[in-house]
Symmetry: D2
């Protein structure tokens, strides 16, 4: 299910079948998203940075990682739906904007600094 | 761009054009994801819970919310790519699993408890 | 143990006794902090905003909340130690700065906006 | 200000002087905490893991890191106050519990696994 609209509709049906829309105000959904990001972080926290990718490619971690990435996506899609945001369009616009702001010449091999 | 595969390819091209793959180990990308989730949280933190949805539907907040949702999605898609996880398939599998675990009869109008 | 220096020393001893300092680089500790904040968020995500305080005052939630708040503090204290930051001094300085930036007259009953 | 009770009282006075207690329900404060953890994460996200500690010891990053650590602590202290949790006692109890669960013999140089 690689289409964001299909995912949105599936989450909407899942929610409605359980009468869970009552719980899905934006602040609650952001907290749920934070919970899933936290579970993802816990899977990686003590792995050596340089080996993390390879370690996460082997079971049982691989399956756990897929589950947490999925949970983050599902809550994100649901949050966008509640907020009436077209997530795919927003991502495409943001990527265009990033291409403008970070020219490949100026930022070649150099991470933008924050703070 | 509602197709997750297209988004993944666009992020991959964006990254490669700037030689930024060197920064994209899993732990760094999770921290970047956390940063974007934090910016999303800041937009909502002091809004009254019951009015948050409506307040986020009006400008300039509407545009800001779309941008932060997009940023979260883009880093999530990039992280899944680095980890070689098919995000759409993982989400579909997780949703099926949730449908099993939370029967609509047993969980009607009742949120699953955590902790 | 209300003294931040005592907490720092206790965490340092705990860490050293297990030879865990090798895992405690800043990025790993931030991910651990994110994991604990995520667990805290999960305890509150589906509670009605207006009842959350009261609901969290009754067991078994009260104990769980105390545990997660403690976990966040312990990792924060450990992270500050690793970064050689005097957490108490930094907090006092930040509070002074906030008192300057947000005058009680101008911000009376009005939340600072973000974004 | 290394005493958690003093910090709590200072945050309480700061909040009351601005009539901001109305904004400080638990879910809002957790979102504010998430926002600050996100800003902390952004400071470290693209630093090489093995150099992060040293890079964060030099200005201007050092000051920024201290500010974000302080913000996280201040919201955490405020959240604990709103929830009537004695943060220092909770941390001491959690540390005792951890000393029990993770014996220094069994966990010598070995990180506890999550997930």
């Amino acid at each position: 299910m690689r289409d964001l609209t299909a995912l949105r509709d599936a989450m909407r049906a899942f929610t409605d079948a359980r009468d869970w829309a009552r719980f899905h105000d934006p602040k609650s959904l952001i907290l749920a998203l934070v919970g899933e990001v936290g579970e993802l972080a816990e899977l990686f926290q003590w792995l050596p940075a340089e080996d993390a990718r390879e370690l996460a490619a082997t079971e049982p971690l691989r399956t756990r990682v897929g589950e947490e990435l999925a949970d983050v996506l599902l809550y994100l899609v649901r949050l966008a739906d509640v907020l009436d945001v077209d997530l795919g369009a927003a991502a495409a616009a943001k990527l265009l904007d990033a291409e403008d702001r970070f020219s490949s010449a100026e930022y070649q091999g150099r991470a933008p600094t924050k703070g």
